[in-house]
């Protein structure tokens, strides 16, 4: 309690309590959190690398860490061990055993069978639980790794743009005057730039990697975050408590960070889920159109595009990705709805 500004104030606590009461929002939040955390450890569940290999009495944990060449296990190649094959070999020669993840495929490798061409239908035997895409890559793996990339991308994008948007929006609202005017004009002009087209143009000329892609998103995405914050700040800065802080001699930075931002955060928090699902959707759309992340990065958009072109012959591709996407977006929408309800000031009108 020494630093009270870092504890949750009761209003926030009350809002969180209220959010917890909104069942579907809260459960979606928990489910999504679990999914995100699990996806961070996808390598343990979905991977072509084994979890544990016992070879000649020694244990190996290939999941994280360096590539283990086939020669380590007495195989005749220097490149990365094919653990599925190794499993069979070891079973046959009795020199050890291999524990494979639940889905023993990575999101990149192509599994081709003799004489039949992918896409392969879902199968428990081959452990392609949702089948493969048209070059034999496991759909579960592509879905999960695609999800991980999409959600990390969206979180990074949303948090960074909100951070920039909040800082600039606050300064615009707080300082007002020429600073506000100039930035308003800049942002208005900036917002005229059709963001998705720019990404498409950049994407078609030079396929950016994750970081550059994120950077482009951020460069064009921050400006729209400023308006609400600016408006809120304008409102807040006219309130007496800001004047009180000024009268104490508080600096601009202090006023913004201690007084304005926490009050403005409310709107931001309610906007977050929608921004995140928006970011996932745009990323998916761009990937779908082929302007997104570099192939063969696993992505939902790419799966949708494959699924659509093969929906007659390989319905499992489209079905899987559309279901996954629907579930995730609906969950985020529930969270958003829950947060909005929980943070809705109307619900907390004090009776007079």
């Amino acid at each position: 309690m020494k630093k009270p500004m870092f504890t949750l104030d009761p209003l926030t606590r009350k809002r969180i309590d209220r959010f917890k009461q909104i069942k579907r929002g809260y459960w979606s939040w928990r489910a999504l959190l679990v999914l995100v955390i699990l996806s961070l450890f996808s390598e343990l569940f979905i991977n072509s690398r084994a979890i544990v290999v016992s070879y000649e009495g020694k244990l190996y944990f290939p999941t994280y860490g360096a590539v283990i060449p086939g020669t380590t296990f007495g195989l005749d190649y220097q490149y990365e061990t094919n653990y599925r094959e190794l499993s069979k070999t070891l079973k046959a020669n009795g020199k050890g055993w291999v524990l494979m993840p639940l889905v023993p495929y990575s999101a990149y490798e192509q599994d081709f069978k003799e004489g039949v061409y992918p896409p392969y239908a879902p199968s428990l035997v081959s452990r392609h639980f949702l089948g493969t895409d048209s070059i034999g890559r496991d759909i579960v793996a592509r879905l999960v790794y695609g999800f991980r990339i999409a959600i990390l991308f969206s979180l990074a994008y949303v948090f960074i743009t909100f951070f920039i948007g909040t800082v600039i929006g606050c300064l615009m609202g707080y300082w007002g005057g020429w600073f506000d005017t100039i930035f308003q004009r800049i942002i208005e002009i900036w917002e005229q730039v059709p963001f998705l087209y720019v990404v498409m143009i950049v994407g078609s000329i030079y396929k950016p990697n994750f970081a550059i892609f994120l950077l482009i998103f951020i460069i064009f995405g921050w400006s729209s975050r400023t308006w609400r914050v600016r408006a809120m700040t304008y409102r807040e800065r006219e309130r007496d408590y800001i004047l009180a802080a000024k009268a104490m001699g508080a600096s601009t930075w202090r006023i913004i960070s201690v007084h304005i931002v926490p009050n403005v955060l409310v709107v931001i928090v309610t906007m977050l889920p929608f921004a995140i699902s928006g970011a996932i959707s745009s990323l998916t759309a761009l990937d779908y159109l082929g302007f997104g992340l570099r192939p063969p990065t696993p992505s939902w958009g790419e799966l949708i595009s494959q699924g659509i072109s093969a929906y007659k012959t390989a319905p499992w591709i489209l079905t899987s990705v559309v279901s996954a996407m629907t579930v995730i977006l609906v969950m985020i929408a529930f969270i958003g709805e829950g947060l909005r309800d929980a943070f809705d000031p109307k619900k907390f009108t004090v009776y007079k």
Binding site: K14, R18, K347, F348, Y351, K352
Partner: protein, 327 residues
């Protein structure tokens, strides 16, 4: 005027749903208003006076608030049982209301004239369309609007606070109401303007004989305008009576405190003011016993153990106090 009650409120209770469960914010409130008379409903914020007014208009926030008990009759008809269409005709017509903050009560995108004309359209079918504009002008003149011809075409933001309240009053009077409910209409105004508005309401009432329910927290305004007073505290009526009686001889300790705690113009500066100590309780923890007991200088054990009723004290006076007349 035949002395029949224009409005009769009989034992109404109002309950609100909150996050912490339902609370009763108005408890067993009764009063009546006769045509041509002004009743002041006085009390502090949260005492339930505005909710009482809203109940009469059936404007409680839906679905959180509702009247749980009691009866409200207007000109003999039970307001709470009227069909919704009838209510539309009543509101703004026979009963009209003015509010504390005229800026929020006026629609910012319509001119003052248009908003008054709308009331005419809704409640004064006898006026032909062509006659409306002169009628609006008449209304504005009636509320002593300065240069009414040009103000008619003004939007609310172009008017000063006093002018806006005049427009509100003009709108309220346009339907020729039998009852005017004024909910703190002058609280946001400057004293000089307040004086003008109070005088205006008094004059208008004299002219058309309507009943006025005047809601305020300012004992000064009560003294200025009302015929009868109902003092509310924590959702209950604590004292009623004719205005002269109540001010000359306040019975309830709360009423006494209210009247005495404000500095008078002839007080000695920088001397200690009489106070009511403690705070107004929140509706969530109204005590079951005397609700004023914990602030009352005269309260004793029995006050804290028993629940007082609103009892006749003298003709026309009712008081809710065990020690009425003894302290």
């Amino acid at each position: 005027m035949d002395g029949k009650e224009l409005l009769k409120v009989e034992g109404i209770s109002v309950s609100f749903d909150t996050d912490l469960g339902p609370i009763e914010v108005v408890d067993d409130v009764s009063f009546e208003i006769k045509p041509g008379r002004t009743l002041a409903l006085v009390g502090e914020s949260g005492c339930g006076k505005s909710v009482t007014a809203s109940s009469i208009m059936r404007l409680l926030p839906h679905p959180h608030g509702r009247v749980t008990r009691g009866r409200i009759s207007f000109e003999g008809e039970s307001v709470l049982d009227l069909p919704v269409e009838e209510m539309y005709r009543l509101r703004g017509g026979k009963i009209s209301m003015i509010f504390q903050e005229p800026m929020t009560a006026l629609n910012p995108v319509h001119t003052a004239g248009a908003q008054i004309a709308e009331v005419l359209d809704l409640h004064r079918a006898d006026i032909a369309k062509k006659a409306r504009e002169p009628e609006v002008l008449e209304m504005l003149k009636a509320v002593e609007m300065p240069s009414p011809e040009s103000r008619m075409g003004n939007y609310p933001f172009q008017l000063s606070g006093g002018m806006r309240q005049r427009v509100m009053i003009a709108m309220a009077l346009a339907g020729h109401p039998r009852l005017l409910i004024a909910d703190e209409p002058t609280t946001a105004l400057d004293v000089t303007v307040q004086a003008q508005i109070l005088a205006l309401i008094r004059d208008l009432q004299k002219k058309n004989g309507m009943g006025v329910l005047y809601i305020t927290h300012d004992m000064g305004v009560v003294a200025e305008i009302s015929d009868d007073v109902v003092v509310m505290y924590a959702g209950q009526i604590v004292e009623t009576g004719a205005v002269l009686d109540v001010f000359k001889n306040p019975i309830h300790p709360y009423t006494k405190g209210l009247i005495r705690s404000m500095p008078l113009l002839d007080s000695v500066p920088k001397t200690e003011l009489p106070t009511i100590h403690g705070q107004v309780p929140s509706p969530h923890n109204y005590p079951a016993t005397c609700r004023f007991a914990n602030r009352c200088p005269h309260a004793d054990e029995s006050c804290r153990a028993n629940t007082p009723a609103l009892e006749d004290f003298s003709p026309g006076r009712k008081v809710r106090c065990f020690k009425a007349g003894r302290v």
